[in-house]
């Protein structure tokens, strides 16, 4: 397991490095000049060439692309993400400020999704064909088909506007977290429920399950001891993808609830071409995504000895 994970981790730095090049080029080749955009946004109507040129010099945008990239990479290596174009504040400060809110939201949503999906998926598979299964499948299908931000709007309408139980926007207290967490978690919970159900059903059809039953084992033991471990592997693999979905989904959900997280910061920064903030955001999200995939692989190899022993079919 050690060597497998080591091999996997060794691939991460080059991947992140290439990713940083992609992000960098994406920004530099996109239309819209940050100096002009930010001057226009600050309310200066007559944007004169001199001011634009001065800002571009100040931000290092007048350098050649390799020089700009090299400078940025050097800074990032020292943990410095530069200063935001629009607010002039250090990007790392902005990120640190916004990170806790987004972490609360995404980690909360992930936990809620798992806590809801695991029992529902198992129950659905075990009681396959029954009324409960039909109900679970219907709910899960609705969950994967529903845009999270629409669910967010529906939740605001029901629980904030009509019932007044939870605040519609903002952050700070637990009550602020409830609606956005549910809106973000629903899709992941539904996907996981469907996956767990499908893979458990698949496992239940295997000959070794028949053997366990033929031995006279209680159904509960058959499910828990013999089936779950194998059945959860595909679900865990999909979890890495779900984390990626949560990171992007958070940006949308944060916008719905005017929740001051990283995603909202990024969406606003993209609008104003705030290169340092966008670069740091995308890089950070990619880092989280890549590491959660690694983590999932680690969990996977604990569950599946074939992988641990290095016999993984590519």
């Amino acid at each position: 397991m050690g060597t497998y994970l080591l091999r996997r981790s060794l691939g991460i730095p080059p991947l992140l490095l290439s990713a940083s090049v992609v992000i960098f080029l994406l920004l530099r080749f996109s239309p819209g000049d940050p100096a002009e955009v930010i001057l226009a946004q600050s309310g200066e109507y007559a944007v004169d060439k001199e001011t634009v040129a001065q800002l571009r010099r100040e931000w290092g945008l007048d350098l050649s692309l390799p020089a700009q990239y090299g400078r940025w990479l050097g800074q990032v290596a020292r943990g410095d993400f530069g200063r935001s174009f629009s607010t002039s504040r250090p990007v790392s400060e902005l990120l640190v400020e916004r990170l806790p809110a987004t972490l609360q939201l995404t980690v909360g949503a992930l936990l809620v999704a798992l806590v809801v999906a695991t029992p529902l998926g198992i129950l659905s598979a075990v009681r396959s064909g029954g009324l409960l299964d039909g109900f679970c499948r219907l709910i899960a299908l609705a969950g994967v088909s529903m845009p999270g931000f629409w669910l967010g709007l529906l939740l605001i309408w029901t629980f904030s506007v009509r019932l007044g139980w939870f605040p519609a926007i903002g952050s700070g207290t637990f009550r602020h977290l409830v609606l956005p967490t549910v809106a973000l978690a629903a899709g992941v919970a539904a996907t996981q429920t469907r996956l767990i159900r499908a893979s458990l059903l698949e496992v239940l059809g295997q000959p070794y399950v028949d053997v366990a039953r033929a031995k006279g084992l209680a159904e509960r033991i058959v499910i828990v001891r013999h089936c779950l471990r194998n059945a959860l592997i595909p679900a865990i693999t999909a979890l890495a993808l779900s984390v990626g979905g949560l990171l992007g989904g958070a940006a949308v959900i944060e916008t719905v609830f005017a929740y001051p997280g990283l995603g909202k910061l990024a969406v606003d920064s993209i609008g104003s071409r705030d290169y340092p903030v966008i670069q740091a955001y995308v890089l950070l999200m990619t880092l989280v995504f890549v590491f959660s995939s690694l983590l999932v692989d680690a969990a996977y190899s604990v569950l599946d000895p074939r992988i641990r022993l290095g016999a993984r079919a590519q």
Partner: protein, 295 residues
């Protein structure tokens, strides 16, 4: 299934889930058909929007602002007095059109790159797969939002953003299918009689994977619709006043506390479309390969 385990099944009063599921939930058996009908219904309604829509989706009529549903306006009117039903119908043409364009372009790119990578192997394969890995390293929606945002609001930006994040996934799957099909006798035979690479790919390999491709596309179509609506909800899609489902939801945010219909119906339209695509995709993947896991 070996004979021994088949016998075992009989002995231990087989309760094979798959069999039970079929008999009990009749409704679920017809889910694929329902999905196809639902999708067809939505597409037809949107295509026929100019005929069906009771009013002009763009013309402002301020005196009729924010009216609840009535006989004249079945879904009510928005903050500009525009008929919501007409906007939902016309908006669907945009949403579905963008989704169809993005799906087709992604498929085309990935068929060429994935197909060639799988068939040729070697350096080209390495190059394509490294690019695929790199693309898949980004969280899908994060990259899509960034690209669409940087390109500036517009339908083209949305299509490009969706294609940029979708092609890699398709390409990887298509490459896998081609790798499998490549060793089949008929492909080797075609190669042996001197068929050109495009000919082998188009005439021999494409038909072999087209079924799986249909499953893949229908399963992904719902996700693409969701991604597109998320982008336009963030204001990155079509420019106002043209209607589009995600954009309508975005515009509804200031007014839906007074007039919930504003966000109810465009969201419902997205939901039903994605539901139809998912039902159809599930049924197709079951029909074509009953043993495969549903993703």
């Amino acid at each position: 299934m070996t004979t021994a385990s088949a016998l075992l099944r009989v002995v231990v009063r087989d309760e094979r889930p798959r069999l039970r599921r079929r008999s009990v939930f009749r409704l679920v058996d017809h889910a694929g058909l329902a999905g196809a009908l639902l999708l067809a219904g939505v597409v037809t309604a949107c295509l026929a929007a100019p005929l069906l829509a009771p009013a002009d989706p763009i013309r402002v009529n301020l005196p009729a602002q924010l009216q609840p549903p009535s006989a004249a306006h079945l879904m009510g009117t928005d903050n500009f007095g525009r008929d919501i039903l007409s906007r939902v119908l016309h908006g669907g043409r945009v949403s579905l059109g963008v989704a169809a364009a993005a799906t087709l372009i992604s498929l085309l790119i990935s068929l060429v790159l994935g197909g060639l990578a799988g068939y040729l192997g070697g350096l080209f394969d390495d190059l394509v797969m490294r690019t695929v890995d790199l693309t898949l390293a980004f969280p899908r929606l994060v990259l899509a939002i960034t690209i669409a945002g940087l390109l500036g609001a517009g339908l083209g930006s949305v299509v490009i953003a969706i294609v940029a994040v979708s092609w890699a996934w398709y390409a990887r799957v298509i490459r896998g299918m081609v790798l499998q099909a490549r060793e089949e006798q008929y492909v080797l035979a075609a190669h042996a009689v001197g068929a050109s690479v495009p000919r082998v790919l188009l005439r021999h390999l494409l038909p072999a994977i087209i079924g799986q491709l249909a499953v893949l596309t229908s399963l992904d179509f719902g996700r693409i619709i969701l991604a597109i609506s998320a982008l336009s909800f963030l204001g990155l899609g079509i420019r106002p006043p043209a209607p589009e489902w995600g954009a309508m939801l975005n515009e509804s945010r200031l007014f839906f506390a007074r007039q919930p219909e504003l966000m109810l119906y465009p969201g419902l339209a997205i939901f039903l479309t994605v539901l139809g695509a998912n039902l159809l995709g599930d049924a197709l993947s079951d029909a074509l390969d009953p043993r495969r896991n549903r993703r």
